[in-house]
Each structure stands twice: as structure tokens, then as C-alpha cells.
């Protein structure tokens, strides 16, 4: 059995370790990147990954820019991406879905949730992923988006 490979991108070393420990316990093979730029390098040079766990707020190239770079590159355009943030804002969730995220996790998430989300995004077909994303954009678009960014 070939282990599925996950790239965890977060500028916080302890949060990367937490994700790595959780996903490794579920028998995923995990690589880490401490920035958006490093993530793009790893994706370009490294082995093929099955999914990316991407923090949104990072210095330099943030999660939004990293996701955009992943989506415009034909080699990674269809790579499942799970975006994570501590910002509890509906507008950020909507932005994530519109930008091509496959899941949006609010930190701190229950430990088992990360594993189940990764399993789900990896096993969906491209059509299922697009439908899932479109449905969430449709739902969130109905919500009022007030408050500070």
C-alpha cells in the first residue's frame, strides 16, 4: 500500500508539528513547508502530493496567494487544498471557496476532523469537488458580510 502524501504549510512550527503528528498517526506521509514560497518549491521539486493543508495568515506570500499560485499552475491546478485559519469570518470562508479551496477549517479544529477532511477531499472526484465548492459558495453568498476584515 502506497501512503498518501500530504504537504502541511504553516509558518508556526508547533502547528505544523501538530498536523504532522495527527496525519502521520492516520498513516499519511507528511512533508512540511514554513511559507507559501517554500510550499511552491516543494510542490515543484518534490514527489507528487495528494493534498495540501494551507494556513491562510502567513508573512510574505500568504495562503491566498499560495492557493492562487497552485491553481494557475497546470501541474497543481487540481491538487486538493484544505485552507485553515483562526479568523471566524464568513467572508473569508466565501473567499476561500471562490478561490478554489476544497475545504475550509477553522482552528482549533477537533483532531479527528483534519483526518476526515483529508480523506474526503482526496477521495472526491474532480466533478464532486467542483460541485461541493459551488454549493458552499451558493450558501455563503446568501449571508450578510458585514464587520471588519
Amino acid at each position: 500500500v502506497i501512503a498518501r502524501r500530504i504537504l502541511v504549510v504553516d509558518d508556526a512550527p508547533d502547528l505544523r508539528l501538530l498536523d504532522r503528528l495527527v496525519l502521520s498517526a492516520a498513516e499519511y506521509e507528511v512533508s512540511e513547508a514554513a511559507s507559501g514560497v517554500e510550499a511552491l518549491d516543494v510542490l515543484a521539486e518534490g514527489p507528487e502530493f495528494d493534498a495540501v493543508v494551507l494556513d491562510i495568515q502567513m508573512p510574505g506570500m500568504d495562503g491566498w496567494e499560495t492557493l492562487e499560485a497552485i491553481r494557475v499552475n497546470p501541474a497543481t491546478a487540481s491538487l486538493p487544498v484544505v485552507m485553515c485559519t483562526v479568523k471566524d469570518q464568513a467572508r473569508d470562508a466565501l473567499r476561500a471557496w471562490q478561490a478554489g479551496a476544497d475545504e475550509y477549517l477553522l482552528k482549533p479544529f477537533p483532531i479527528g476532523r483534519l483526518v476526515s477532511v483529508i480523506h474526503d477531499v482526496i477521495t472526491r472526484t474532480d466533478d464532486e469537488r467542483q460541485q461541493y465548492r459551488a454549493k458552499r459558495v451558493e450558501i455563503l453568498s446568501r449571508l450578510p458580510m458585514g464587520g471588519p476584515a
Binding site: 509558518d11 508556526a12 512550527p13 508547533d14 502547528l15 508539528l17 501538530l18 503528528l21 495527527v22 498517526a25 494556513d55 495568515q57 508573512p59 483562526v86 482552528k107 482549533p108 477537533p110 483532531i111 479527528g112
Partner: protein
Amino acid sequence: MTAACDEARLTELASALGRDGMDELTKLFLRESRLRVQRLRQAAGSPTIIRAEAHQLHGAGAALGATGLAALAEQLATAARAGDTDCVLVLTNGVGTELDRVAAFLEHWTLPE
């Protein structure tokens, strides 16, 4: 005074990660968080650095169940964004004190039987 860490969250983590994983995680969290507080104290007048460090403390604190620390860090990021330097100073000191409390709590915390 409330506990420095949410025991239910710590138990959830320890159950998933095991004793070795939990030890590794808490040690790295405390080491990184002390460095974050140190950088916060050196970053007076630099809202960008303060917001970045406070954001990391917020996320890592919340992940480890250090709810008070996470809340203070979130307030600190908000104060830095608003340019409220007096509030930033007070909250930076508060974050340091709360981190000491979290460290003391984690040192004595064990997974319930």
C-alpha cells in the same frame, strides 16, 4: 481563576498523539511561544511584527487548549491593528504572564486515568 488550559482539549490531543507525541508538541509549543513573547517585547512600534506574532500565539494557544492565552493574543493583534500602543504594551505583558501560567499548568498536567 480559570485553569490555564482546557483539560478536555489536552485529553483529546493526548489520546490522539500518545504520550511521546504530546510531550514533543507541548515542548515545542512552549519553546516557540517563549520566542514569540520575546519577539513581541522587542517589536514595540512595529504593528506588522506584533500582529504576526500575536496571530501565531492565538492559533497555537487555541490548538493547545490555552484559551486565555489565545484570547489575549487575539486582543493584542486587534490592538496592534488599531495602533493602540498603550493597549499593546499592557497586553504584551499580559500574554507573557499568561504563558508562564500555561507552562506551569502543562508541567504538572497528566492524562487522566
